[in-house]
Point group: C2
């Protein structure tokens, strides 16, 4: 039987990502495909590189998008920097620290785990104790913005600590890039990866990465071959490395790179500091509305990510049923809790193009209506007004 074309509805994506994509980005992606060695495409690649350097706040030459989602960016960092026998301290306070551990072990390293509760930031004291206890550690790896919990850890402080003890850092910035303050060069971050589908208003499928000079030295002086051909940065550099002569490595995802280019042009036009401030501003409005309703935040205020709000499900409420009604009746997607938090929390994203006044008010209104109709123990009918009052103040 013939399959019909697929026409997706227009959702409002306020989960943990993908978030709403700007129509400008969608249109850019539909432009005619060029060859991946076309001189005009190669010029555009150079622009993407420059724009990513701006987004990461770095001068690192080795800054580019990996041709696959954020998980592959993580893998690119670990595959290139970890050799069999290396010791890596991995901070885990959510899902993605656990994935880092898997990466370390699959590339033959030993992972020393520093555990914090889900919903808490990485504890620098525990990290320092681990660094002291394991002086032969090569890398400290941590998540800047934990997508599973909405927690920000102190990337600047943790990087300083690592360097004091002679370690490199690998930083997961999937949910922070262009949404929260992040300064790769000023903070001295050695290797970092992100994703396009969060605060950059771009489609999923690419993973921006950046490697500093210390990390590049480690790659260049490896004793063993990188355990991946596709993610071998020493080969990828030949294609993304600049100059007019590009060595073919793999066929770049041409149209998705158009999308990233357009998203980054928009980031540049807004200004990075303005983008960070916008995420904070709408977070405050959402918070005013949620708290007026009586819904609590899980994460302590100092560690909250404005772009990803972890909130408690009111007592007695079937959280999955609420999400299904938001999706089916209002076309709004919010996220469920993961792991230990499953069933107890929601994750409301305010990322990139989705982070605006209209979405804050629609989301609060819809949540209010659905929870009220379920006789949930909340304060009905006040959330939208509280957010509006914040916007008008």
């Amino acid at each position: 039987m013939a399959t019909s074309p697929f026409y997706p509805p227009q959702r409002i994506l306020m989960g943990p990502g993908p978030s709403d994509v700007s129509p400008r980005v969608l249109q850019a992606m539909a432009r005619p495909t060029l060859g991946h060695l076309d001189p005009l495409f190669v010029e555009m690649m150079d622009e993407v590189k420059g724009l990513l350097q701006y987004a990461f706040q770095t001068q690192n030459e080795l800054t580019m998008p990996i041709s696959a989602p954020g998980s592959a960016g993580m893998e690119a960092c670990f595959a290139n920097l970890v050799e069999p026998g290396d010791k890596v301290i991995v901070c885990q306070n959510g899902v993605f620290g656990g994935r880092m551990k898997e990466n370390v072990e699959r590339f033959g390293g030993t992972a020393i785990m520093v555990m914090d509760d889900w919903g808490k930031p990485v504890d620098p004291e525990k990290v320092e104790a681990a660094l002291k206890a394991h002086p032969d550690t090569k890398i400290l790896a941590f998540v800047h913005a934990e997508t599973s919990t909405g927690v920000r850890s102190d990337a600047k402080l943790l990087t300083e600590l690592a360097h004091q003890y002679g370690c490199l850092v690998i930083v997961d910035a999937v949910t922070s890039l262009t949404g929260s303050e992040l300064r790769v060069d000023a903070w001295g971050i050695d290797a970092i990866y992100s994703g396009t589908q969060k605060c950059m208003s771009c489609v999923p499928g690419l993973s921006p990465v950046s490697f500093g000079s210390r990390a590049v030295d480690v790659i260049k002086t490896r004793k063993t071959k990188i355990q991946s051909w596709f993610l071998d940065m020493s080969l990828i550099m030949g294609y993304w490395g600049g100059g007019t002569k590009r060595a073919y490595h793999h066929t770049a995802p041409v149209n998705t790179l158009y999308a990233l280019h357009e998203a980054l042009v928009m980031v540049q036009a807004e200004g990075l500091e303005n983008a960070w401030a916008r995420h904070q501003h709408h977070h405050q409005a959402l918070k005013a509305g949620l708290e007026a309703m009586g819904i609590r935040f899980v994460v302590e205020e100092a560690a909250r990510l404005p772009q990803l709000n972890l909130i408690t499900v009111p007592e007695g409420v079937d959280e999955a049923a609420v999400r299904a009604r938001l999706l089916n009746e209002y076309s709004i997607e919010i996220g469920a809790g993961l792991g230990a938090l499953a069933g107890k929390v929601w994750r409301i994203g305010l990322m990139g193009h989705a982070c605006n006044t209209k979405n804050v008010l629609i989301c609060l209104g819809a949540l209010d209506a659905v929870l009220s109709s379920l006789q949930a123990p909340i304060e009905s009918g006040v959330a939208v007004g509280a957010a509006q009052a914040f916007y008008q103040a």
Copy 2:
């Protein structure tokens, strides 16, 4: 300085890929992004899987697109099937056999090479000799359609041979899928990967793969963990495996999957056998024109891929200058030779949406005009007429 949006020109992509993308596919890709766990998106994923099973001519349950280009699909096959110490016979008759060797070695295996000249198909006699000489071989790996040379090897016969000697096969079908006859189940292929940017008229960025039951058994009974988290099929199955409960593995490239869905709907509507015949038909027309001009094919007729035509550069002609003029004056991209063939050949692709009468005639006309203006030793002014005569016959 502010970077401007990027507006690519409309090329005619007749190189080794990416090839022209159907406007229907580009439009599908620009539809609103859904969450990667949205019930409607999950339904679409099931359709993609079914359509890929049709394209591969297989009932294999484990059939899906890897969220990255063809090189990652290759890596997915080798990473999952090769364990340290395994012996793999790799047939090399172009660029991609060499990449297979890299893969085997990076995953800890030993590659036994069976070498054939670039431009020749894999020689089954040499393969059988290698299988006899190495009875402990686990896998035979070969390229069905060598993108670097335009050569088709006999996938059915090589698979039979491998099975006679108790080996699995890994087949590279990047350039053959939907362009040339390929029957995964009828031929008994155990593991196969392809790319979306060749004969499927889709954008680059995804790699369809399929694993048969013997390959799945090998994955399930591995002694060691797969040396990649991103490409670990046992984890990816949890997301693509069917059913309504999907385990999050990575964020799927949602919009690129819309593109693949649309491209596969078009393959289904045309019919696979019709698509194979269309590639053969326009190849014959191109051949009539090129031969009238006095340009020779490099590959013997029986092994020629209709979708990728390897032809000799006329004596005394600077091949790069010709390609540059075709691109700049006619917006036509054709491909250069690689490796030992660099400077001596061109590769003219007739793939997917680009494989049509109009492109054959435009390409012949442009090549005729450029070569004539350079006083190249060709027969001028007859190529287009020869192709037209073929079409009218």
